[in-house]
């Protein structure tokens, strides 16, 4: 049996050692756990960064591939089609009768259309043209060629300062151009517009406003149900998170379409 003095000594010792051990254990656990948590957060951030780097790499690879295909299309198909056009023009001059001339003319027209379409595809694909300046230039040139061909006076407005150093992704550029093309096609074919004003605005969105002066106007909902044109326009705008609206005023029919430059 322990003496009273020894007992008290042992109790004090035990009462001191055990809480100290427990406190040590608790401190070890919480410090180690916090370290692990911190490490885990770092690992997660690293993983996110790696994923982002991978995405950028993939994006660059796609852009590189787009540019390569565009160049090859330009060099191989382009020169082939130009040759067909040249040869058909030459054959047209040597045609013996009207029927033959008509056939050759059809070949020439088709190759002309193909050359134009292909140049549009090349423009849309080539990442070298992924900027606002190129987009504006291309839209202006297209509108000029197309509307002049159909003898519709037009004006194209843009603030040149807005174009500086603005990158516009290929997908946005391509869809905006195709929508623009469809809108002008409708203008020429259905609107009966006496004149066209085009306004291009670039901030965090690319906004294009086409005002058809003296146009008859139309009901966009009914037209969308009837034909493919407006339906395709809507689909293209949806694909680039854009919006399109139609406004009829006393003087004009206005078609406004807008898409964010950077997709979320």
């Amino acid at each position: 049996m322990l003496t009273d003095e020894e007992t008290i000594y042992n109790i004090i010792l035990a009462a001191f050692i055990m809480p100290v051990l427990l406190a040590g254990l608790l401190i070890w656990f919480f410090i180690s756990f916090q370290k692990k948590k911190f490490q885990n957060e770092n690992d997660r951030k690293d993983a996110q960064l790696r994923e982002q780097a991978l995405m950028i790499e993939r994006h660059q690879a796609i852009e590189h591939e787009r540019t390569r295909i565009a160049s090859e299309m330009h060099d191989d198909l382009g020169s082939g089609l130009t040759t067909i056009r040249y040869l058909s023009d030459k054959a047209l001059l040597q045609a013996k009768d009207t029927e033959e001339a008509e056939q050759i003319q059809r070949i020439a027209d088709h190759s002309n259309t193909l050359v134009r379409n292909m140049s549009e595809i090349i423009w849309a694909m080539n990442s070298r043209f992924d900027d606002a300046e190129n987009l504006a230039g291309y839209l202006r040139r297209y509108a000029s060629e197309y509307l002049e061909e159909h003898s519709i006076p037009f004006s194209f407005e843009i603030d040149e300062e807005q174009l500086e150093n603005v990158n516009v992704r290929g997908e946005v550029r391509r869809n905006l151009f195709l929508v623009f093309k469809e809108v002008l096609h409708n203008t020429v074919k259905y609107s009966g517009a006496a004149e066209v004003f085009i306004h291009l605005q670039i901030d965090d969105h690319v906004t294009i406003k086409v005002s058809e002066i003296g146009a008859r106007g139309f009901d966009p909902i009914a037209s969308e149900e009837k034909g493919n044109g407006l339906y395709n326009i809507k689909k293209r705008m949806d694909a680039i998170q854009g919006r399109i609206s139609y406004e009829k005023t006393a003087e004009a029919m206005q078609i406004i379409f807008s898409a964010p430059i950077h997709l979320s």
Binding site: A14, M18, P19, L21, F29, K36, N40
Partner: protein
């Protein structure tokens, strides 16, 4: 009712309610264990005190049953390990010896602190192993949603705070006229233990530990 007894009752009620709702408890057979704890701590305790004037033989048995349950919980957790068979035999051996000791040799007017401390000698390495694995082996997750962490810290705090008293209990309480001071200290440890049970029940009814792979 003492504070820790009220917490035990609350834990039992919540555990029964969650079981009734079809939710799993934090540990296997936790509800029967809580029924046992509350029964031993309150009605049977009152009954034994009225019969014998003290509750030492009841406490001896209850302490053993609690340690058996803790060992069972950890055996269940580690049952897939290579060494689980060894653990099973150690636990069975411990149970046999302590039961034979309890009913054969133990002086029923004093506390069986040897069985109590021996049980913790098996239990503590299992608990430390769990904490070690939380830190070094498992993927990071929110430990506040892990019932085992509550359970382990509750038992460790209870054991640490009560060890000096229970280790020398016969001298301090059984034969000491001023035993009430130590008795209050023991109750304090019980508060931590009951809170650990409650925490385990509540956290297991929220979301499971969210593992975020690194």
């Amino acid at each position: 009712l003492l504070l820790f007894e009220s917490i035990f009752i609350a834990t039992l009620t919540l555990s029964a309610w969650f079981t009734y709702k079809g939710q799993k408890g934090p540990f296997p057979y936790f509800l029967p264990f809580m029924v046992m704890v509350v029964s031993f701590e309150i009605p049977i305790d009152i009954w034994f005190k009225s019969l014998y004037g003290h509750n030492l033989h009841l406490k001896n048995l209850m302490a053993k049953l609690c340690i058996y349950y803790y060992l069972f919980v950890f055996y269940h957790y580690y049952r897939d390990r290579v060494w689980s068979m060894l653990l099973k035999y150690i636990i069975l051996l411990y149970m046999t010896i302590t039961l034979v000791w309890n009913f054969g040799f133990q002086d029923q007017d004093s506390i069986d602190y040897i069985s109590y401390n021996a049980g913790y000698l098996i239990l503590i390495p299992l608990m430390l192993l769990y904490l070690h694995e939380v830190i070094y082996k498992k993927d990071y997750y929110n430990v506040l949603r892990d019932p085992y962490v509550y359970f382990i810290f509750g038992i460790l705090i209870f054991y640490t705070s009560s060890f000096p008293i229970l280790g020398f209990i016969n001298m301090l309480i059984t034969y000491n006229p001023n035993y009430k001071a130590f008795y209050h200290l023991l109750n304090l440890g019980n508060i931590f233990l009951s809170l650990a049970y409650l925490g385990a029940v509540l956290c297991s009814q929220t979301k499971k530990p969210s593992i975020i792979s690194s």
